[in-house]
Symmetry: C2
Subunit: 319 residues, 2 copies
């Protein structure tokens, strides 16, 4: 039995995971980041005991605990270097957990853990080299190579969203111009949708915005599905940028699989079919075998499962 | 004693490499690719015997032979899948070599081997994660992660030149538009130089072209060093594109080091200083430690040394 802990800016989600990578029990609590790093981790420890109790498992039967957070992690040292809105600042979180837990404790970036989750139990099951791309407010990247998380020499690799695909293009939160994230994130999609609505006022996208109460990542897709040309134009441009970045990453890594996650994947085949076609046209010709491009399967559970599977490779779970 | 074999489109270069990664003897012969794959490998085998004889080493004292070629390689199977102008076509080159050599035989892509060479004996000595970027006719990429060559699940990873950095930009030989290679290669630099010469005829670049007999990758740098504004403009644009792609790769991989090779590196600090400054401005902020950016040190020897070091990790040569 393993425990996976996904520490987000809003909630701490904790799951008990069995040897088949199933989440068999869960507990959850607000992160309340303002109380400080040590208080958050004390709560994580308490939640792990609560989880074991709820599942009727003795704490000494927990074989390991994996904790993941956004941001930068020194995995070998068990330290969270920083994590966006959560006040980790070179916090020795593994050491703090060891004060109350005797099992091995692992720490990793959440996007990397999500990639590992998809490798163990999701869309990339059994693959040894996988990129996981999460299209949300930003574009997150998780990298699994040779069955293990790859996070660079300083724990901050995988910033695939901050790959410029249009030099001098849209401004990005990172300070660069033309990052993939500025086009391929939900935020980028919403910006493109707004621009098209200004250019073609009074169309289907404006009507849908009135119905939904706001412009969202769904607006252009809903309009396009109705046959609206302006909506179709936004969707086509979005898919084009998405495919350019995907093809870049395939040309660089040639992984066995790329998993796409995030809310926009709810569009299903309407997104994935043209995206895969466009990426195949863009990617380098001559590879003897092609990278599989698929939608992620685990949703928010990927982080918990991946966290629980950190360090699992030594146990021979992966082929 | 190890042998490294670098099979290029024009020449086969073979070196005897000692445990300190020094090339202590060399032989060379034309590749003559038209005679076919098997004849080329038979010649490689013969050249290895010739090399051993020349160095006074018994063939049975050769501990391993590594062979590298451009293109796509199935390293575990010892097969060269294809190699540009050299007629390898799923050729079982390791098997062919084993008909006359009893030591372990390794096969790899030449850019990956060059990266490994720089890791063992060059600018990235002792680093465990290194990208090697070679700026030549194209932009080549070699990837070493965790002290080993990374070549993807199909042997064709590392096509970093075919990463679009300007969507809809300059056409590339690969069929895409706006690839890094179309700007950052010597070919891209020459194109930008020609365009500037057309825009500003009769300037320093035109005079230098007359003196050298052709436009080359040196033309704009020579003009810029003289203080010519048009030449400076080309150099600035070239360095800007180079830094955009480098920052992309650092954001993705966060390797310990990036080595830059190829003829343009002869510009020395005049290139490297502004390139490093521009890349630092572009790369993702917040990493606790920064990737070292350096010029490659081994030149054409990197391929031979890297070839000789394939499989060396098992011998504990790398930390």
């Amino acid at each position: 039995m393993y425990i996976g802990v996904d520490i987000g800016g809003t909630n701490i989600a904790v799951g008990l995971v069995d040897g088949g990578c199933n989440i068999i029990e869960r507990v959850k609590a607000p992160t309340l980041p303002k109380r400080g790093a040590r208080a958050v981790i004390d709560d994580v420890s308490r939640l792990c005991f609560e989880l074991a109790g709820k599942a009727g498992v003795k704490p000494r039967d927990i074989e390991r605990i994996g904790m993941v957070a956004p941001g930068s992690v020194d995995a070998p040292a068990g330290i969270i270097i920083f994590a966006g809105n959560i006040p980790f600042d070179n916090s020795p979180v593994a050491e703090w957990m060891r004060e109350s837990w005797s099992c091995p404790i692992f720490v990793e970036n959440d996007a990397n853990a999500a990639a590992l989750g998809e490798v163990y139990a999701g869309a990339a099951k059994g693959r040894s080299s996988v990129l996981m791309i999460t299209l949300g407010t930003g574009v997150g990247g998780g990298i699994v190579l040779d069955g293990k998380v790859y996070s660079g020499f300083n724990g901050t690799a995988g910033e695939v969203g901050h790959m410029v695909v249009e030099a001098g293009g849209r401004g990005c939160t990172c300070g660069r111009a033309g990052c993939w994230e500025a086009y391929a994130s939900a935020t980028g999609l919403i910006s493109m949708t707004r621009e098209a609505m200004e250019k073609y006022p009074g169309g289907a996208m404006s009507r849908i915005t009135g119905e939904l109460g706001k412009v969202s990542g769904k607006t252009a897709f809903l309009a396009a599905r109705e046959g609206d040309a302006a909506g179709r134009g936004v969707v086509d441009a979005y898919i084009r940028y998405l495919s350019i970045g995907l093809a870049n990453l395939i040309n660089i890594f040639q992984p066995e699989a790329v998993c796409i996650g995030g809310g926009v994947c709810n569009e299903g085949e309407y997104l994935m079919k043209p995206l895969i076609e466009a990426t195949r046209r863009e990617q380098f010709k001559g590879s003897p075998r092609l990278t599989e491009i698929c939608a992620a399967a685990l949703g928010n559970d990927a982080g918990i499962i991946g966290a629980a599977m950190l360090g699992a490779r030594k146990d021979g779970l992966l082929k």
